[in-house]
Amino acid sequence: MEEILSVFIQEAREQLTEMEAGLMRMEQGDHDPETLNGVFRAAHTIKGGSGVVELTMIEKFTHVVENALDKLRNNEISVSDDLISAILNCCDHLNALLDLAQNEQTEADPATQLKGDTLANQLRGFLGGAVASSAGASASAPAESTASVESEGGGKTMNDCWHISVRFSRECMKNGMDPEAVLRYLLSLGEIVHITTISDALPDPDDMDPESCYLGFEINFRSHADKAAIERVFDFVREGSELHILPPYSKVTDYLDLIAHLPEETMRLGEILVKSGALTQEELDDGLARQQAGSAAAAKIEGGPAAPQLGDILVGQQMVQPEIVEAAVTKQKQISEKKADEARLIRIHADKLDQLIDLVGELVIAGASANLLAQKSGQTALVETTSVLSRLVESIRDSALQLRMVQIGETFNRFNRVVRDTAKEIGKEIELVITGADTELDKSVVEKIGDPLMHLVRNAMDHGLEPTATRIAKGKPAAGRVELNAFHDSGSIVIEVVDDGAGLPKEKIRKKAVEKGIISDSQALSDQEIANLIFEAGFSTADKVTNLSGRGVGMDVVRRNIQALRGTVEVNSEENVGSRFVIRLPLTLAIIDGFLVGVEKSSFVIPLEMVVECMELSATSIDRNYLNLRGEVLPFVRLRELFEVGTEKPPRENVVVVKAGGRKAGIVVDVLQGEFQTVIKPLGGLFRHLRGIAGSTILGSGEVALILDVQTLASLAATAEERTLAVAGGRN
């Protein structure tokens, strides 16, 4: 595929994601114009890009969407759930069109074409048929919007500029902020079309403090910046200053309100506004006349129920303003920060990155062998040099791995849409809460975790959360809550899917498990173990099979997928409170810091992050499989017995205390050999079913060492211990 096309498709997909995110926020009641602007910009970018790569099918379709968004922006149509849904469907269709483009198809097949037409017509329905000739070129879009403004008539002014009204604080010059500097800075955002300096506040000479500022300005300002950006110009002089900013095409009443709020006389201000081009004389006269008529009428019906006065509403709005402004400012900051970020990003092919990682892996191995030889040679200078070298290799390894780290946020954000659509489909109110979206993990892991996560989230929505009526009856909030959390925990990343639904029915699961022969009736299981039975193959307790889940395939697939990533999944659940699925994944799949241990002549590697401490195994605990670790019971496994290596026990054995999946265990070995950079080499398919071994690596000497699967060993130790205890308990 042509490179420009593939770049376009990738970018278009990103823009679509952004659009979707914006639309969802709008649906949830975000009225920030910047959100709508963001959505519009995204659509516009897609349209522009598709024009460049000559994908007319996408260009035409996006044009319709852009039109609708433009109308929204001009307040000609209002936001409704139906409209948002329609636009979201259009986003889906655009994705489908992009798929076609990816397969180098430049024309939509009839079915897709039909779907697109239907969607476009549906969207046009919202526009009130005003855009019959919508398939025109992009250049016509601005012209359309101007025309519509004219037809608005009396309500809005013709002024296409911002109007900034500022009265500087008395103190600003004393604080070193000259209004001139502030206004000059304003020029960086646009053009001052007209400025009027207001000196009415100047007191009599005797009272006048020459170092105070008494000036104010009425500025007609042409700019594409948004309100927050303009306001930020005045940040430094904000305290004590009076600042009003009216957007382009503000209502006449807004201007009247502005006049009323300023200290100067009405007529004089009116004149200034007319002179500066903010208002036309007719607009001003008309507005003032109406205001007077309104107050006269209000005076007549004195004592009657007070009609809501426009002024009051506007004053009310002004009270709200600071928060909106605050939000807009933060939003704006985020956007500009993101933009700055983007500028520092480069796109490279994932293959190149993988190749780099491979090479670094080889470098690590070669470094280790050089190190070994240097030590054998006994030349101090050589040892020193190689140790510097290996430190550098370590840094290279870390930064190379860092390159592959991506934030999980993108994966999480996909679920916003999934949750929204599913909620509508199954008629439940569901709220999705995402935390830790900036947690980083290996790209290859991120790619593979999407499907299992999707399954868990769908399960939570369908099985976990009760129907709204049931929830209300139980005294829970009507809207169900699904949480996605991610965080780092001792060398692994933890992803949680939490719901506040009904929880897992333990008795039912147990019964079903017995029915299916997964457990025997007499088997004593902890609550935790029962809950985790749902990951067994062919297990489903749902009474009815729905479209979403409940067919009994899935949870075992989820577990298998996660295990393939060297991760684990488990569930904690409390009936009527909710369930928490916890996925633990290793941070990276390629290179780790290892801890080398030996049994007889074999070497094993334990991931260093999981090692808590090492100690000597005391003779007293020699015939048991647990020891007393400062008052804590620590179960352990003996590698010698587990892997049946060696014959004679050495006089001294060591215990490596490891922590995995929230529990501690001991691994008994002969010797501790210290830290070792481990390049993970996967085991061949033949060894896939090997328990307790996660992979292999090559030592500096060229020998192979096996990497221990600490997770499995730890649970092995724990269950072995529990079993012994259970047997002992049964005897009593």
Partner: protein
């Protein structure tokens, strides 16, 4: 401030005041006294600002104050010469109309 000098030129009542100092906040207090002093003493003042190297908002403010005071008392204040920086700032603030003087830039500075 001592550089600013007052001399009677041509017609007896019109006093010409040349200001050579910066019209900035650092001199604002002294400037105010000086300007107000002139306003009090003379019925008509011609301000020569051609030697003003630097002017800021406080300077503009003082000039506006002086102008307004003169108007109130029926006196005349006209600025007969602007230095480039004065011209520029007056332009920026769009207040040439307020003073009603032709903006004259000395040939040397233009």
């Amino acid at each position: 401030m001592s550089k600013a000098e007052s001399k009677t030129a041509g017609k007896a009542q019109v006093s010409r005041v040349a200001i050579a100092d910066d019209l900035t906040i650092y001199h604002a207090a002294a400037l105010k006294d000086q300007l107000m002093g002139h306003v009090k003493q003379h019925p008509a003042i011609e301000l020569d600002l051609s030697a003003v190297a630097d002017i800021d908002t406080s300077g503009i403010q003082l000039l506006m104050l002086a102008k307004r005071e003169c108007q109130k008392q029926g006196k005349i204040l006209s600025i007969v010469a602007h230095s480039p920086s004065v011209h520029e700032l007056m332009d920026f603030y769009n207040i040439a109309g307020f003073f009603g003087d032709p903006l004259v830039i000395p040939a040397s500075a233009a």
